[in-house]
């Protein structure tokens, strides 16, 4: 039982799988000698060799494309895209092939790959280094999308993603890579890939969020608890497919729903959650479904990035409005 950060937990999970399954390999830009620009793969090449932890040339479409080729031929590639702002060249391969190989061949072939990518803002990074575009991948049939928000979930969900027989886009909230430590047992135990997590139980309002925003959301819940507001906080964790039973049960209990995400609002994943509840849970709702999200603008350069993002204040104010319905 070691106390580890979220990023340490990811390294542990990759090491475990490299150790226990010879089909697993890591590839990406700077993942080898350098151990990744965020150090997620630090030490892995030294330990497992340059064949199994490979530095690739600089081409994301290539990384996705060869990962598909390898996965179809029996390997379990875990590819890293350095930042979500550079994931777009992979979109064609992911939607046109990764998500289709199994269906296209009626199960003759499959594509068990993982595309890892740090995402989100708030680290004072340069342009294109703060994107949150999980909605693109959530809209792709055949692709699973997973986002951990704690060291333990990072470990268990990444193991599950690597072992899953289908392609998984695994997005890592880099703002909380090293935010805090949690004791995680390195026991190779995976977590399920289609359940969300109730981080805090409550009865007045349901707050659905994921990734780094779980922290703003929990803080908002803490603040409001002082004034007697009981919030239920749900970490979506598996963005696609969505476990909406848990969300619907919670809304049935609370009657109020606020969705918080960092991505731009329009056609974000928050809209899907709202749509599901507006269909299946509408009679449980006491008032409007509200979203606290990034705005429909380009993520500003860092002097203004925090003004773009949902903040504790924005969240608490929105919850208060909801309570007045």
């Amino acid at each position: 039982m070691a106390d580890v950060t979220l990023i340490d937990a990811l390294t542990m999970a990759m090491a475990w799988e490299l150790e226990h399954d010879s089909r697993v390999l890591i590839l990406g830009e700077d993942v080898g000698v350098n151990g990744g620009v965020f150090r997620a793969t630090a030490g892995l090449q030294k330990r497992f060799g340059a064949d199994r932890v490979q530095d690739t040339p600089l081409a994301e479409g290539m990384i996705a494309g060869i990962s598909i080729g390898m996965a179809v031929q029996g390997m379990l590639p875990v590819a890293e895209i350095q930042f979500m702002g550079f994931i777009y060249p992979t979109v064609d391969q992911m939607i046109s092939h990764a998500g289709r190989m199994r269906n296209r061949t009626r199960g003759r072939l499959s594509c068990p790959m993982v595309l890892r990518c740090p995402y989100g803002g708030g680290i004072h990074a340069p342009e294109h280094h703060s994107e949150s575009t999980e909605a693109f991948f959530a809209h792709m049939p055949g692709i699973r999308v997973v986002i951990p928000s704690s060291p333990a979930r990072a470990y268990g969900l990444l193991l599950a993603a690597i072992r899953n027989p289908d392609p998984v886009v695994f997005l890592e909230p880099k703002r909380i890579y090293r935010l805090n430590k949690q004791s995680v047992e390195d026991n190779g135990k995976a977590l399920p890939l289609d359940v969300c997590y109730i981080l805090r139980e409550g009865s007045d309002v349901t707050l659905v969020t994921w990734g780094a925003m779980t922290y703003e959301t929990l803080k908002a819940a803490d603040q409001l608890a002082k004034s007697g507001v009981s919030s239920e906080v749900i970490d979506l964790a598996t963005i696609s497919p969505i476990d909406y039973d848990t969300i619907l049960e919670s809304v049935e209990k609370t009657g109020r729903l606020v969705i918080i995400h960092e991505a731009a609002r329009t056609a974000g994943v928050g809209a899907e959650i709202a749509a599901i509840v507006a269909e299946k849970g509408i009679y449980d709702l006491r008032g409007p479904i509200r979203r606290v999200t990034g705005y429909d603008v380009v993520m500003p350069l860092f002097r203004r990035e925090m003004d773009y993002m949902p903040s504790v204040a924005k969240i608490t104010d929105t919850i208060r409005e909801a309570l007045n319905d």
Partner: protein
């Protein structure tokens, strides 16, 4: 100024359009069984192709991409491969796919709008048809990387067209293959046209083989209508790859004698004369002449082969036409190894409506 690197691009043809063999014709030209077998494959492919076009014309098949004129390139490249190598085709390499063991009815099912056409009975690990141009080059590179990592003596072969050489994916695949000495052969079928775009508008590069220079791998141009040249150079490239010496780019120069697909009308953008001139160079004539000169072929054998091919094709067509639609729910049942709960409801909804209710247009 000093010269720090130089490159030469070679062209190879062993059988000229009249079936005359060049003095340096390789060993395999003496393997008469192999020659006859390739001729049979090429002929069967052509008979199939003609039939498929007719099926489309009579409403029994969807849009279909003819391979007329490409038979030598397609059969030659597949004949050079080992059974356990993998092919990453685009969408018109039937000659190659048949050699690999894909059945004619599978190809018809694919163009007939049925996914089961890609569930190849024969080559279980070959990649399926690939429509997004040049994306398969990366799959071949990835497959080669898998073989290399596992220490298998297998190779991957990808096939794309002249138009495909304009897509970034094509260069990215060659570059990683070069950097890692991957056991892969990239075959560019230069049939002079990308739908209506002639090769001159596609690139200023004088040959497509020279695009290999960008990746630091060897490139060669061969007469794609000469099955001996295609097979010989692909065999050489595969042997080299298997030895661990890395990737090769082979440009096979041929001509698309048909419309791009049955949805296309090439008369809009190219001259009859050009097509007629190209027809004289087509691959079956020269091989038949060569076989005839060697006393390996005659009209009776030709007649017998055509009948046999027609019968084989008819059987495939029957199998295709007699294949009932897959059940509605099949669109859900292969999306994931395990269907997520969230899709159950949609699956039931689809089943409830069964077949299309015909409310659509066009």
């Amino acid at each position: 100024m000093e010269t720090i690197a130089d490159f030469e691009i070679q062209y190879s043809q062993f059988l000229d359009p009249d079936g005359n063999a060049s003095p340096d014709i390789p060993e395999l030209a003496r393997n008469t069984d192999a020659l006859v077998d390739m001729y049979r494959q090429m002929t069967e492919t052509r008979v199939f192709d003609t039939k498929a076009v007719n099926l489309q014309r009579t409403g029994k098949l969807g849009t279909y991409a003819s391979c007329l004129g490409h038979e030598a390139t397609h059969v030659g490249l597949a004949a050079a491969m080992n059974k356990d190598d993998v092919l990453a085709p685009s969408y018109r390499e039937y000659g190659a796919m048949f050699c690999r063991g894909v059945t004619m009815s599978e190809v018809l099912l694919y163009w007939g709008g049925d996914e089961r056409g890609s569930d190849f009975e024969g080559p279980r690990t070959d990649f399926p048809f690939c429509v997004p141009i040049a994306t398969q080059c990366l799959h071949a590179a990835g497959a080669a990387m898998a073989f290399q990592l596992r220490g298998e003596a297998r190779c991957a072969v990808s096939v794309n067209g002249d138009g495909g050489t304009s897509e970034g994916a094509f260069y990215e695949a060659m570059n990683i293959a070069g950097a890692r000495k991957l056991p892969v052969v990239f075959i560019v079928v230069n049939n002079k046209w990308a739908i209506s775009v002639p090769i001159e508008l596609q690139t200023a590069s004088k040959t497509l083989a020279q695009k290999a220079v960008a990746a630091g791998i060897p490139g060669i141009q061969v007469d794609g209508n000469d099955v001996i040249a295609v097979r010989h150079w692909v065999e050489r490239a595969l042997a080299r790859a298997r030895k661990g010496d890395g990737a090769t780019l082979i440009e096979a120069v041929t001509y698309r004698l048909s419309d791009h697909t049955t949805a296309d009308d090439a008369s809009r953008y190219r001259k009859k004369e050009e097509v007629e001139a190209a027809r004289k160079l087509e691959p079956l004539i020269r091989l038949r002449k060569y076989l005839t000169d060697l006393g390996l072929w005659d009209d009776d054998r030709e007649k017998a082969l055509l009948e046999q091919a027609a019968e084989k094709v008819d059987q495939a067509v029957q199998r295709y036409l007699n294949t009932p639609k897959a059940p509605v729910e099949s669109m859900f049942d292969y999306m994931y190894a395990e269907l997520p709960d969230s899709l159950e409801e949609q699956r039931e909804h689809a089943m409830q409506y069964g077949d299309a209710d015909g409310s659509h247009h066009g």
